[in-house]
Assembly symmetry: C2
Homo-oligomer: 216 residues x 2
Amino acid sequence: MRERSIFAGLSGEELCALGMDVVDLELGAGTTIYHEGEDACCAYTLREGAVKLVKSLADGRAQIVRLLHHGDLFGFEGLHRQRHQHTAIALSTVKLCRLDLRELDQLSQRLPVVREAIFRRWQRALEEAESRIVDLGARRAEARLATFLLQWAEAYPQHRSLPFPLTRQDLGEFLGLSTEHVSRIMADFKRRGWLRESRGTLEILMPQALREDSAS
Amino acid sequence: MRERSIFAGLSGEELCALGMDVVDLELGAGTTIYHEGEDACCAYTLREGAVKLVKSLADGRAQIVRLLHHGDLFGFEGLHRQRHQHTAIALSTVKLCRLDLRELDQLSQRLPVVREAIFRRWQRALEEAESRIVDLGARRAEARLATFLLQWAEAYPQHRSLPFPLTRQDLGEFLGLSTEHVSRIMADFKRRGWLRESRGTLEILMPQALREDSAS
DNA sequence: CGCTATCTTGACCATAATCAACCGGAGTGG
DNA sequence: CCACTCCGGTTGATTATGGTCAAGATAGCG
């Protein structure tokens, strides 16, 4: 489903060999990687862990615009825009690969394959954004949460018990719901025996039930 | 604000001169330009009029994913995907410029400027999609409608009285609201003297009031 | 003039937000 | 070791926002 490899085959090491000076980073949960509106100097690839991209509202609330997993790229809006469009925050301990945007731009001018790879990621980001628009615009809370959990699980195909570093508030900010409502629905799912949860991990016991629920 | 020119300076005629065989089309309001899931052979630039990109839901409802104005490009997802991701429907009489995707792809391989132009459009589409996610996820009906009307107006900077071919249902499908609720809010805006509406045109009498309302 | 679409309005209902209290685990300090 | 606090989560009661259903109103159109 997802192309997990960085740059569709070009790993960080290979980029490095191509003349990029790539910096590996490891950051703790909760660390802000960059701020919305900040001058964009770097883009990142996410090697391990999860990251949220957040837009802050005037009234202090926040909306999570995108959630990133192993293999995802972010901070690339700086290729054309001067400033970052979101705040990027690590949800768990993350391993990143930092790329200089100026170098990356030059590299992508020279190597069509790199440009192509970025382009494809961009396209997938747009598709995902559009399917979230449909979700938020046309589906109810329960269905949104159900689809979300299933999608989250897709990001960890090998795991039976998923890493799940999201708080109820994160879920709410992603799904456009209050923390209380998220909590109620999660409790409901658990009561029905569809889920099990403990200390940052999640187990989906009855994906089919969730799938049916997400259809409604 | 918006880059209105096609291909950031490359007009349809210029593309034609570059060896693209570009077909000009004129279609009536309500015409379906292509269907979701259909094999994508062509992309389009919108020379005149407005188009909606729609995703249909299982239960028969629809969500408008994007609204397009003069100068916008659409159908380009076919560059990488085989199939169209939305249904494109003309809201008014439209003048289109049809581009063969295969040719366009080749052209964009040869001319970095073309590729760059498409890339930038893609990026703007993503930004708009993300701001709609914030809208749908975090703002109330009134605020969403207010911001939408102001944005619609931006697409017609020269007009005092705007072309407004959207039905209440279109508005609802775009904003994630029922037609009735849209109707109520529109009536409210009109009662407060912020808008005037007649026969497919809209006049924004008090943009400042709308702006304040859209902030809440 | 009558037909049909769309729009409007009202009454009622459902979904989800808000407000508030409480629970429970992880740290912290005595 | 135990109280205490803090934070996130849960639950309940109440409110509000917006959806649904149904009945008119309006306007384009043959």
